[in-house]
C-alpha cells in the first residue's frame, strides 16, 4: 500500500527548515503522499528515508523496454485491473516466432513474411512489434547466426529464446546493441543468465512452475543487478496461464507485492491457429505485456492487433474519425448525403447501416470533438453553422447535383435554422441508425 502523509512525515528531518519551499515538513510530507512533490527537494533527508520512500513511490509494475529506436516496446507501469477504472497504458507487444532450425531459404522467407505483418484497416496502420528467435536446434552457431540474420534483416525488436547460457551469449554477441529480451532463465541457469543480461544491459525474463518460485527467480535476477525483468507465464494449460496472469497483476496492484511487480510475457504455441490467436487475444485482454505466437498469417494477426487497439484505447477519450466526406459504395452525383458526428462509434454505426442498405451514399462526418449527436447538440458543438462549415470544407456542393441533406432524427429541431443557413432542403432522418436502410429505401427513393 502507498504510504500516508504521516508515514512519510516520520521519515523526514522534522526541522521545518523550509529549504524545500514548503512551510513545514508535514506540509511537504502531505504533498509527497499526493505525488505533488519530489523527495529530492529536501536537502537533509536521510539515506534510510530515501530508500524507504524511493521504493514506495516507484510504480507498482516496473516499466520494461525491449529494443531501441522507433520499434522499441515499452510494457509495464499499469495502474488498473479493469480498463474502465482509468485506462491501460502500454499496449501488449505482439511477437511472432522464428526457429533457428529452419533451412536458410525457409528462414529468410519466414522473416520476410514476419517483416510484412503491417496491415491497414479503417485508415490506420497496425503492426506487430517483435520477432522471437527460438533456439530450437540447441546449436550455438545456428542460434548466433539466426540472431544475426534477424538483427540485420528486420526492423522489429528481438526476443532471444534459449535455456542455454552459452548459446545466449553467442547470440547476444551478434545483436546486444538492439537490446533484445533475454528469454530462457529458469531455476537451473538464473544466476548465469542474469549475469549475462546485466553485462549486456538487456531486459530478461524469468520462468518457474509456481508463483512462489517465480518470485524467487525474479529476486535472483534482481540480485544480479538486472532491473528490467519480465515474468514468463507460458504453459500448456490455458486456464492456469490466465489465472496466473490475473494473480500476478493483482499481487502487484492490490497487494503492492513488489517481487512480482513486473510485466508478463506469454508464449502461445498451438498447432491450430484459431486456438493460438483465441488464446493470445484472451491473454492480451487480461494483462500479458507481450504475447508471442507462431501464426504469421495476416488473417490471424489482424484480429489480434485489432483486439489490442480496442482494449488499449482510452475509455475517457472518445475515438474519432477524420471529419470529412466519406463515399459509401459507388456514390454518384444523385446519391443521398447524410451527416453525422466524428465520434467513431457513431460514425461506424451509421456507415454500417448505409452500407447494409446497399444504396450508395455520402456521409459527412462533422467535427464535434468526437462526441455523439445528442451530446454534441446539447453542448452546442453541433449547430447550423458547424454543419454549414463542414459542408463547405468538404465541398459537398461539387459532389452532388441535388440540394438535399439528410440529418439525424435526434436533431430534427435544428432543421429550420439549418435550411436557412445552408439553403439546402433538409430531410429529417431516423432517430436510430438502424432505421437508415428502410429510410433510404422508402423516403429517399420516393
Amino acid at each position: 500500500m502507498a504510504l500516508t502523509g504521516l508515514d512519510i512525515y516520520k521519515l523526514l528531518p522534522k526541522t521545518n527548515c523550509k529549504k524545500c519551499g514548503r512551510p513545514t515538513c508535514l506540509a511537504f510530507a502531505m504533498q509527497l503522499a499526493q505525488k505533488k512533490a519530489n523527495l529530492s527537494d529536501c536537502p537533509d533527508v536521510s539515506e534510510e528515508a530515501k530508500k524507504v520512500l524511493g521504493a514506495a513511490s516507484a510504480p507498482p509494475i516496473k516499466l520494461v523496454t525491449v529494443g531501441t529506436g522507433a520499434k522499441k516496446v515499452e510494457v509495464g507501469e499499469e495502474n488498473v485491473l479493469f480498463r474502465h477504472e482509468e485506462k491501460f497504458y502500454h499496449p501488449t507487444g505482439v511477437a511472432v516466432t522464428i526457429s533457428d532450425d529452419l533451412s536458410d531459404a525457409d528462414f529468410n522467407d519466414r522473416l520476410k513474411k514476419i517483416n510484412s505483418l503491417k496491415l491497414s484497416r479503417v485508415g490506420t496502420e497496425i503492426e506487430i512489434d517483435l520477432v522471437a528467435v527460438i533456439n530450437k536446434s540447441n546449436n550455438v552457431n545456428k542460434f548466433a547466426e539466426a540472431a544475426k540474420k534477424v538483427s540485420s534483416g528486420s526492423h522489429l525488436s528481438i526476443i532471444l529464446s534459449s535455456a542455454s547460457v552459452e548459446n545466449m551469449k553467442a547470440a547476444l554477441a551478434n545483436c546486444a546493441e538492439k537490446r533484445p529480451l533475454v528469454h530462457g532463465a529458469n531455476s537451473q541457469n538464473c544466476e548465469a543468465m542474469a549475469a549475462l543480461a546485466k553485462e549486456k544491459n538487456c531486459p530478461m525474463t524469468v520462468t518457474a512452475p509456481t508463483l512462489e518460485e517465480l518470485a524467487d527467480m525474479a529476486e535472483c535476477a534482481k540480485k544480479a543487478g538486472v532491473e528490467e525483468i519480465m515474468l514468463d507465464v507460458s504453459g500448456n494449460n490455458p486456464k492456469e496461464v490466465l489465472q496466473k496472469l490475473t494473480k500476478i497483476r493483482r499481487a502487484a496492484l492490490k497487494k503492492n507485492f513488489r517481487t512480482l511487480g513486473f510485466p508478463m510475457i506469454t508464449f502461445v504455441c498451438d498447432d491450430d491457429p484459431f486456438q493460438e490467436i483465441s488464446l493470445a487475444s484472451t491473454y492480451l485482454a487480461k494483462y500479458a505485456g507481450i504475447v508471442a505466437v507462431n501464426t504469421c498469417e495476416p488473417w490471424g494477426i489482424m484480429p489480434l492487433l485489432t483486439a489490442r487497439t480496442n482494449l488499449f484505447t482510452d475509455p475517457q477519450k472518445p475515438i474519432q474519425v477524420e471529419p470529412r466526406l466519406y463515399a459509401v459504395g459507388d456514390a454518384k452525383e444523385d446519391s443521398p448525403v447524410l451527416f453525422t458526428t466524428n465520434f467513431s462509434l457513431t460514425y461506424y454505426t451509421v456507415e454500417g447501416e448505409v452500407e447494409g442498405s446497399r444504396i450508395p451514399a455520402y456521409i459527412l462526418s462533422v467535427d464535434t470533438g468526437g462526441t455523439s449527436v445528442l451530446t454534441a447538440y446539447s453542448g452546442d458543438k453541433l449547430n447550423d453553422k458547424v454543419v454549414a462549415k463542414a459542408m463547405a470544407d468538404a465541398q459537398v456542393e461539387t459532389k452532388v447535383k441535388h440540394r438535399k441533406l439528410i440529418i439525424p432524427g435526434l436533431v430534427a429541431v435544428m432543421s429550420g435554422k439549418l435550411q436557412e443557413t445552408l439553403g439546402w432542403e433538409i430531410l429529417v432522418g431516423p432517430r436510430e441508425a438502424s432505421g437508415l436502410p428502410s429510410y433510404l429505401k422508402t423516403v429517399w427513393r420516393a
Binding site: F82, R83, H84, L119, S120, R121, V122, E212, A215, E219, N237, P238, K239, L242, Q243, T246, K247, R250, A251, K254, K255, F257, T259, L260, D272, P273, F274, Q275, I277, S278, L279, S281, T282, A285, K286, E297, P298, W299, G300, M302, P303, L304, T306, A307, T309, N310, L311, T313, P315, S344, L345, Y348, T349, G352, E355, G356, E432, P437, S438, K441
Partner: protein
Amino acid sequence: MEIPNLADKWSSGVNEITLGATKDNGGTRTKTITIGGSKCVPFMDFEGNPGHKPVVAMDICDVPPDDWSETMSKPFADVLNDPAQWAKKCVEQYGADMICLKLDGIHPDKGNKSAEQAVKTVKSVLAAVGVPLIIWGCEQDEKDNEVMPKVSQAAKGENCLMGIVSQNSYKTLTATCLADGHSLITMAPVDINIGKQINILVSEMDFPLNRIVMFQSTGALGYGLEYTYSIQERERLAALTGDKMMAMPVICDVGREAWRAKEAKSGDSEAPQWGSREERGPMWEAITAVSLLQSGVDIIRMQHPKAVAAVKKCIDRLY
C-alpha cells in the same frame, strides 16, 4: 517465497437461469440449458464458484439472409430456405448449445411476413431440434408487438428466451412472456444506466428477475468492441458486489456484428493484404467472441461453424 492470498472476495453473484422445458416441466425440449450462477470474475474459479459454462447459440433466420457473404453462406447453402433443417444442422453437425431463431422476415422491409407464418416457422424449428430456443424479433417495435405475442403463445410452456424489449417498447412482450412461461431479453444500447432502467421497468410488471437475460448490443472487433467490453465488465462487477438489477446473465450478438465488418466479409480480391477470406471471416467472429468472454458473457450468438468450434474449444480450455 510466500505469496499473498490473491482471491478477491465477492458478496454476490450472477443469477442462475434454466432455459427450455422438458416434458416433465410442460415443454417438449429434450435438453435444458442452465446459465449464470457465477460468483467470481470470469474464469477465476480460485475465488468462487464460476457458475455455468458460457454457451453458444447459433443463429438461424426465418428468411434466407440477404447480406451474408459467400464464406458465411457456404456451410448452410443447402438449408438457408428451411429454418427447421438449418436448426438441425447447427445442433447435430456443429454442436450448437441453443438455437437463436431470428424473425427478420417479419420486418416490413424484409418480407413483411405475417404472424401466422412466423408461428409456423417457430413450430417447425421446435419440432426439428430438442435444444432450448431463443426467439428474436425483427427489432421494429410495431411489428414485433404484433407478431411476438402470437409466437409466444404458440411456444407456450417451452420456456424460450424471447427478445428483445427496450425502454421504448417492453410492455407487450413482457406481459406475454410472463403469461406463457418464457424468459426475456432486455436491451439497452451500450448504456449501463439504461440497462439497469429497463430491468427495473420489466420487474415493475412483476416479471421475475431470475428470468431476465441482459443484452447491451454488441460492438464487433474493430467496431466498438471496447464499449461493449467495458460495460459488460462493469455489469459483471456490479452483479458480484450485490446489485440485484445488474445480476442477470448476459447475451452477446457476435455473429451478425462480426460479419458486418469489412475485415470479415470482403472478398480476397478486395483485400489481398488481409489474407484468405475463408479463414479471415471466421477468425474475426471467433476473436470478437473470445475477447468479450473475458468481460463476462453467458450466451454468445454465433454464425460460422468454424468460429463456433474454435470458441467452444477455447471455453472448454479456460473454464
